[in-house]
Amino acid sequence: MSSEPMSVEELEKMAVIIRCDIIDMICTAAAGHPGGSLSATDVVTALYFRVMRIDPENPDWPDRDRFILSKGHACPVWYAALAERGYYDKSHLKTLRQMGSILQGHPDMNKTPGIDMTAGSLGHGLSAGLGMALSAKLQKKDYHVFVVIGDGESQEGSIWEAAMAAPNFKLDNLTAILDYNHLQNDYSVDDIMPIDPVADKWQAFGWNVIDIDGHDMAQVVQALEEAKSHQGAPTIIVANTVKGKGVSYMENVCEWHGKAPCQEEADQAFKELRR
């Protein structure tokens, strides 16, 4: 069914491969969102290569764990993880954002094997995940739903509608991961519309809150596994991350939210990542 769950060391190596895929595909497409893809890479890698119960041969398996990238613009990380995990051939990564590609600019569940929910308009994914988690409870299934949300995305009111609803429905089969990279499209989250104290907010809404370094793979794995087994309430993992993580000139630079590297910049990124 699925390959053996990876060790922390193996996951770290896979995260490097996925980060290189991200840079490569966005460079080839000459468009896309590298910053938020790189900040979410460690979380997505841990999910697909260790934590989630999935079967790449059978992407619609009813009992699979679900994943939603609610900050859909960071889909290069999702596409790369799915390709590396064997959902489709890696050659597709070169077709990102091209006409006829299975890899749309934002995730399309009907075009890409393994994409559990269409995403792109912010503030939908947590609600969709909540719906899946409700279904699991109703249908007495034991799958878990993981949703990555953004910090800028957390300015959407609908996020807080879902935040209010999930504990009320006792959805301990739902885990949100906040990719807290502190930057959004225009400027920093703190400059535009701060979301802090964000952990306190989620706690006040009734969530189990775990605060971690979102680039420390051991912490990421531990938090996700803890969240999966937590009972009685949904969990949110506040993953403190760095936008553009792993590529020096992208790290903490707002402009790399939605800008593609040229070939020279990409080559430098590969060098730094593979160091």
């Binding site: 569940m109 609600s127 969709a128 719906g131 988690a133 109703l138 009111g157 879902a162 209010m164």
Partner: protein, 337 residues
């Protein structure tokens, strides 16, 4: 007039139309209640059906579903965006959610979710929208969903049904469950006469001729079907023989029925309790102008908001009543010659 001119109407209803009696309160029901009744039966038949509410279950009547099937009923509170995207998530797992609220909230408050998370991925969500048109008479403009049909019609993958009366509402609700993909169902807040019964041949996308006629055709939906029938009866007394089509499915439009009516009667009036941009009138006009541009007139809410008031008085004031339809039919017949 002979009874044979009518189809699927009971003799009592025809008698009432012919004698020009007003419909008594006992013959009427808001179609939102018919929806709620239909869900009780559907819940029995189809275990995949679930109902999502947004704090108007007691207004629409889906609280009865919640009482009968507590495990399959979810009240999201006053949070329509969350409800719509959650419905999308539930549909991915094989459930058939009926996301229930008022038209203004379903089509505007939560439109982003309705477009991007339901229609784009073509998920099997049924959107049950009450308070369509200016039927929430007393509630006033904020609760009068006069744009929803036009808005949803502009979205790809959408199917829209606006049934005329309680019986056809039930048939529409049940048909939607058997249809794979998003369906937008439109109901009235105010009571409308029960003119049909469950023997009505309901099929999504198939308009039904409910009165024969050859001088002109009125194509109507939802609560204006009965107004169209009243208008046709008045016109009959003046020697005009007018066809009435219940075009319950706004999208996909039954183009064949429109074009047949155009060629056989030579003039068309559309009647909808919805803004006359982008709804039934527009849909019919689009078909006619590209195929057979005969004289046509649209009855609908002009470029205005309405106000609070009794339902039938509002129909009169805002140009939607049988009287207005009658005048429009006279005009298009006149333009034929």
């Amino acid at each position: 007039m002979t009874i044979n001119q009518y189809h699927y109407l009971s003799p009592q209803i025809i008698e009432r139309l012919e004698s020009d009696e007003t419909f008594s309160k006992t013959d009427q029901q808001p179609t939102r209640y018919a929806y709620a009744e239909a869900m009780l039966e559907l819940g029995e038949k189809n275990p995949k059906v679930v109902v999502l509410d947004a704090d108007v279950s007691k207004s629409i009547g889906t609280n009865q579903f919640a009482d009968k099937f507590p495990d399959r009923s979810f009240n999201f509170g006053i949070a329509e965006q969350n409800m719509m995207a959650a419905a999308a998530g539930m549909a991915t797992t094989g459930l058939i959610p009926y996301a229930t609220t008022y038209a203004v909230f379903a089509s505007m408050r939560a439109l982003d979710m309705v477009r991007n998370s339901i229609h784009y991925p073509k998920l099997n969500v049924k959107i049950a929208a009450s308070h369509g048109g200016i039927t929430p008479g007393p509630d006033g403009v904020t609760h009068q969903g006069q744009e929803d049909l036009s808005i949803i019609r502009s979205i790809a993958n959408s199917t829209i049904i606006a049934p005329a009366d309680p019986a056809t509402t039930k048939l529409a609700v049940w048909a939607a469950a058997d249809y794979e993909g998003p369906v937008y169902l439109s109901f009235t807040r105010d009571p409308v006469p029960a003119i049909f019964d469950l023997n009505y041949p309901f099929e999504i996308g198939k308009a039904v001729t409910v009165r024969d006629g050859s001088d002109a055709t009125i194509i109507a939906n939802r609560d204006l079907v009965v107004q169209a029938l009243i208008a046709a009866e008045h016109l009959a007394r003046k020697g005009r023989d007018v066809r009435v089509i219940d075009c319950h499915t706004l999208k996909p439009l039954d183009e064949e029925a429109v074009l047949t009516a155009a060629s056989e009667t030579g003039a068309i009036v559309t009647a909808e309790n919805n803004v006359f941009y982008g709804g039934l009138g527009s849909a019919v006009a689009e078909v006619l102008v590209e195929n057979n541009p005969i004289p046509m007139k649209r009855i609908g809410v002009r470029d205005t908001f309405a106000e609070s008031g009794p339902y039938l008085d509002l129909l009169e004031k805002y140009g939607l009543s049988a009287n207005h339809i009658e005048v429009a039919v006279e005009e298009v017949i006149h333009r034929k010659f």
